[in-house]
Symmetry: C2
Subunit: 319 residues, 2 copies
């Protein structure tokens, strides 16, 4: 019986892969660093290699696999499996679904990573049973996902839920997207790292100095610096949480969701700290009438939200 | 045959009423100033009096009326006809549907005014045939409405689409809602009037001086001052449009709608001026990948958007 499935979380710097059994339990997993190259073939080769590796390590053939699914950054048509645009990977209007299906002879599905993260939490994690959920995933960037009327919402042409690029201060810091003062420019790892770099330039010292210099800003190091009372790190986190509170308030007033869900690597490492700070500020940024019907929560599946979302995508297509 | 319907737009300062014939044409209309009082009976009496007046003026009995529908500000459950909360009218958890139906023996429907305005434009006006529409209605306040997947979206407990209270600058001007730097505090008549009052206090002169002093800020007077080159009025409008552009960009990035639709009294009077200024700025606040699939438009039904939305509500309930 072909009731195993393979789920992937394809990031710009790392790939997670897992084999799920028919009961939805992860029975084998792989975590790898990736190097994105300048053509689409290598990314696809990475996926193919990873699937082969998972099958070989676990000792299973492709005829035992029901489907493969992946989450990736960017604008992705999750019905047709066409990657329309992705900021960190070299894909443009790329029909990856067909390519992968040709290689393995198994159905392949793909969707935006944070959309799938929210779908995963909604199907198997913290947001089960809710009809209206706003998700904010804090990592290198800051992504969004949205459940509306009990369904993943992607907007026209699958471009929706870009909550990371909500402008909260037109005079704010430059964002990678070209705008100024986006949520991502304040509250992502990139935003926090930029803030710390600026403070170092002003002559302040911080435990994060080498991380900032090397451009490798790990959530765990952030947590260590925060726990050690590093003033610059604490300021960066306070600022990130203040703008996450403003953005959450705006999203609450706009969608009136039942839950605002925080996920991603930063929340996995620092979820309690962030959630407490966000909740402490958020009331000032929500209309009272709307505030009393929303809860704020951290993703229950941690780093696996997107893997579980990929599994949910397979189940959805199973019908 | 009972194929006429009566539709109302119940504002804090004025009420519009219209009789529609079976073909959806307005055959009679009334426009009145209202005075909101401190108990719910008088507001209801206003509605009852207005319906009676419309019927008597047009010479029609209630057995010729299929249904009555109204748009009103606030949080309204448009399925049950319960007004949960309304900022300017004295209604709290008020089952107005039952009351009105008892008086006339005809079905009565009610919904949030701006939600209905967007529904009206989507059903009969500028946004026909689109699946994803964001509406911003600029008047004394600033309201929002949202069509998602070809359906009006109200959020959990009918509290959604409060786009006027999107915070765009946490150090911005005080809003009536208690927050600072909301879109409404920059871009509504109230926001523009506050800006002008501030400029007068700084010793500047403007044609809007008496309007601001009297607290009656008419769209037509604004247009006259703008057309006459009144510097303070122009600044207030430029600022309003800049923040409408920021808010539009945020909404575009969030929902990826096919259209951002601007309605309300200010747009009815100054639509061309506002739309041109908003479009000139908005590209800086949209992700390029999302921007190319959205259009910006002014409501086609003008002051009647909400009346037509009320009619759409009747048609929806007809099934």
């Amino acid at each position: 019986m072909s009731n195993y499935s393979i789920c992937l979380d394809i990031g710009g710097t790392k790939v997670l892969g897992a084999i799920f059994d028919g009961d939805g339990k992860i029975v084998h997993r792989i975590k790898k660093k990736t190097r994105s190259s300048d053509n689409s073939i290598n990314v696809e080769e990475t996926i193919v290699a990873l699937v082969n590796e998972l099958m070989s390590e676990f000792g299973i053939r492709s005829d035992k696999i029901e489907a493969i699914a992946a989450g990736a950054p960017g604008i992705i048509n999750n019905d047709t499996g066409v990657v329309l645009f992705t900021p960190n990977l070299p894909w443009r209007n790329y029909a990856i679904k067909e390519s992968i299906e040709q290689v393995f002879g198994i159905p392949f599905f793909i969707g935006n990573d944070v959309n799938l993260g929210v779908l995963g939490e909604w199907t198997f994690g913290a947001a089960q049973g809710l009809d209206h959920v706003v998700g904010l995933f804090v990592g290198t960037g800051l992504g969004g996902g949205l459940i509306i009327n009990g369904k993943l919402y992607s907007g026209h042409q699958y471009k929706g839920a870009e909550f990371g690029h909500m402008i909260l201060n037109i005079d704010g810091p430059q964002c990678n997207c070209g705008q100024r003062g986006c949520l991502e420019a304040f509250s992502s790892k990139t935003g926090m790292s930029d803030y710390i770099r600026q403070q170092i330039r002003h002559g302040r010292s911080t435990m994060m100095e080498s991380a900032v210099a090397e451009g490798v800003f790990r959530s765990k190091e952030m947590k260590n610096a925060y726990d050690a009372g590093d003033a610059v790190m604490i300021e960066a986190i306070d600022r990130a949480c203040m703008y996450l509170a403003v953005a959450s308030g705006n999203l609450v007033n706009m969608f009136s969701p039942q839950m605002v869900l925080f996920g991603g690597g930063v929340m996995e490492a620092l979820g309690d700290v962030f959630l407490e700070k966000i909740i402490a500020k958020v009331n000032a940024f929500c209309l009272p009438s709307v505030r009393d019907s929303v809860t704020f929560a951290v993703a229950a599946l941690g780093d696996d939200s997107i893997l579980f979302g990929a599994r949910a995508l397979i189940l959805e297509h199973r019908g």
